[in-house]
Subunit: 487 residues, 2 copies
Amino acid sequence: MVSSVRPSATALAQMIGGWQGRPGPAYRGLAAAIRQSVLDGRLAIGARLPAERELSRALGVSRTTVAGAYSALRDDGWLASRRGSGSVVTAGSGSFYDSGLVPVRRPADPEADIIDLTTAGRAAPDDLLDAAIDRAVDRMRGLYRTDGYFPLGVPELREAIAARYVAAGVETSADQILVTNGAQHGFSLALGDLTHALDRVIVESPTYPMALDLIRHTGRVPSPVGLLPDNDQPWMHDLLRSAFRQSAASTAFLMPDFQNPTGALMDAETRALVMQLSEESGTVVMVDESFRLMALEERTLPPPMSYFDARNSGVSIGSLSKPVWGGLRIGWVRAGSAVVGRLGVARALGDMSGPLLDQLIAVEMMPDLDAAARRQAARMRENFDVLRAALAQQAPSWEVIRPAGGATVWVRLPQAVATDAARLAPRHGVLIVPGTRFGPDGTMDNYLRIPLTPQTERLRAAIPRIVTAVQAAEATDVPARVAGWLT
Amino acid sequence: MVSSVRPSATALAQMIGGWQGRPGPAYRGLAAAIRQSVLDGRLAIGARLPAERELSRALGVSRTTVAGAYSALRDDGWLASRRGSGSVVTAGSGSFYDSGLVPVRRPADPEADIIDLTTAGRAAPDDLLDAAIDRAVDRMRGLYRTDGYFPLGVPELREAIAARYVAAGVETSADQILVTNGAQHGFSLALGDLTHALDRVIVESPTYPMALDLIRHTGRVPSPVGLLPDNDQPWMHDLLRSAFRQSAASTAFLMPDFQNPTGALMDAETRALVMQLSEESGTVVMVDESFRLMALEERTLPPPMSYFDARNSGVSIGSLSKPVWGGLRIGWVRAGSAVVGRLGVARALGDMSGPLLDQLIAVEMMPDLDAAARRQAARMRENFDVLRAALAQQAPSWEVIRPAGGATVWVRLPQAVATDAARLAPRHGVLIVPGTRFGPDGTMDNYLRIPLTPQTERLRAAIPRIVTAVQAAEATDVPARVAGWLT
């Protein structure tokens, strides 16, 4: 696969910065740095590398060094030369392409002491939820005489969601809101409406595995844009430009606040750029804002993506699963009213209408939403501090990337053994997800995603188990590069 | 479109029985009877008529009469001669092909006195629901510490649903049950899993409009099998045989108990035939059993379709929307466990998990399900008696087909004016659905579906309005054969 991503020499130099400290000949060091960028997902499979002369100029090294590095990468199966395409990144000989199956979990064995860190779902905020349920049941009694169907959502909830966008500075009417059964439902409806089979969908790499799975399951093709592994400014403008201009993708799926799994926050300038690129290219931008209320520290956020979308061309997806609870199936889509009408037809054809009681509970929760989210964010912060301190002590060579928000931490391992570690983890009493699940190309085997949602004591207990699993993987020669890492 | 339906001469003679009483020349009477069979959906667009000689023999009329009738039908656009296909039924010059849009209803104008009879949704059984909610909320508190996700359904509910099949004589384990957000959700998942775009799906004609809409929306092609307009034995074995043997349909969607809109009940012999045809042809049978508990009179039902499906090859779809309430989004699919696993992956990719509180309410409602259904059935019976008596008096020429069960009545009008009547109905204070919505070919314009779910007084008040709308349609020369009959 030749993707349209074509990093400039400057962008590639930025991606692999720091490679010159490596031991051995320069060309080998450069090759290792480029391979590492592929493995951790910054550099997409299919990306075209800059010409040797340009890269040598950008790096300030001899052209012989670059030629030697490209040649070594070619020998090891990491680069292919294609007529008219130059040097194209390939998967390497050992790459693992995940089967794409959703981990529909077996009910946990209560006898086994296994801590499940495969999802970032949270526990419910008991007191807030209890009070909302009582009021919602009263409200629902007033609707017993109706047939209970509201395919677009209960009007009060659509109004309340629209009002939140208005409060964030984005003009929004209730007919621009479709209430869904959570964020995944909104993404599924939008993807079905805005794309066809074989369309390319620009995604961040790493990105949310269930989004990737859905893109593949429906015959769409993910077109990855690598993120830098630091949360200062991980979206590289250069890569975004080339992705929107050259991929002919019908849509893009991005998580500006906050990115899953990295927890990064997209700055206002990048948001404006994305919407400008969308307007130029016609690529429709879908953003998942499920984590928007979950800043790790209290801060002023950039306006939501829809603020930069004067034409109302894009789709914004939200959810109560993160600030409240996944047991409530409440999410929404904000879009132009014509798109919302079309999505409403698709939703009615798919499952008629959403759960009425959940919607009424959501109506009751809306005034408490910020408070519920702040409480949850405080717990994330506490858990992050616990995780960072424990890993600093138990696994000092791991790089813990501080999330700006969200519910997960993206941890970089010194070796690409995450798939092996995940396979071995159950023996050590923990279930973890390897970085490969988050990359469309099966790369990023040197990353783990660790959720911040467990009870603090559970998380604390899990950490030595994770460390042991990774050490066991490092010590084994047998690769676990087979499907079914969860078994 | 040439469908593969090819009624035998005997079957066609049965369909048009009683035509010989018509005034005028015999060939005209025969042509009118055949045209009527097309208009009311018994004879599908695309069906191939028997050769003239065979039909003349089956009817006991001269071959000249049959030739004259075919010729008249050809002149009026109801038949086309296709090389190699013989005489194929076409749509006639005035046929209306519905736009296929789901009627996503606008919120009713509380100022306007308009009775909405477009859906057969019911009001909630207050007392039973209230008690179940209280217990379910307690149950849910026990799950607050989990993330709330059960993609396949809450285990207790899967067990309880499986137990109902076992009680009906069908061996079923909980891993053969997927809990869905209602019957439409189950159908949508099964259709997505078992069919591809451009596949044919055998449907009854008339059938449920949202099923037709979904089949079309997803690029599948409905392949209709006409039902006889009486509820004694409306499924013609001859037509079923030719549909399964000759259509190359990947799937069939049937409603054996009870059929929507006709309210017919499929007998055990026909069920056995359907599953035998499924085994022979490889066409997978999907049945919607949502109305199974809603027999108009208490009676012993034939075993459910799955009883005749020893190979567990088919899919059975159920729902609490009819016996309980559509405001609860609870339905299910029963299938082989491998199919359930695949549907579970698709459901997780589509919306992650169903509403937890609704599922727990359903767990609590299960022991009361038969009682709730009996109560609702008694109301249907009462409403049917009201409807039949009122129409006998106000519109004696209408034929009210007694449903064996379900929530709707299929009413045959003397003229094909249902689309016009539905367009005029709001002016007369009522919303109705014309028969054309229930036929894949836009035929059946001489039928209306009237729901039995409204409050009895509302239904009583609606009847003269419907009659007036139909009379107004009969009196007008302007056809309403344009899209958007609901405006």
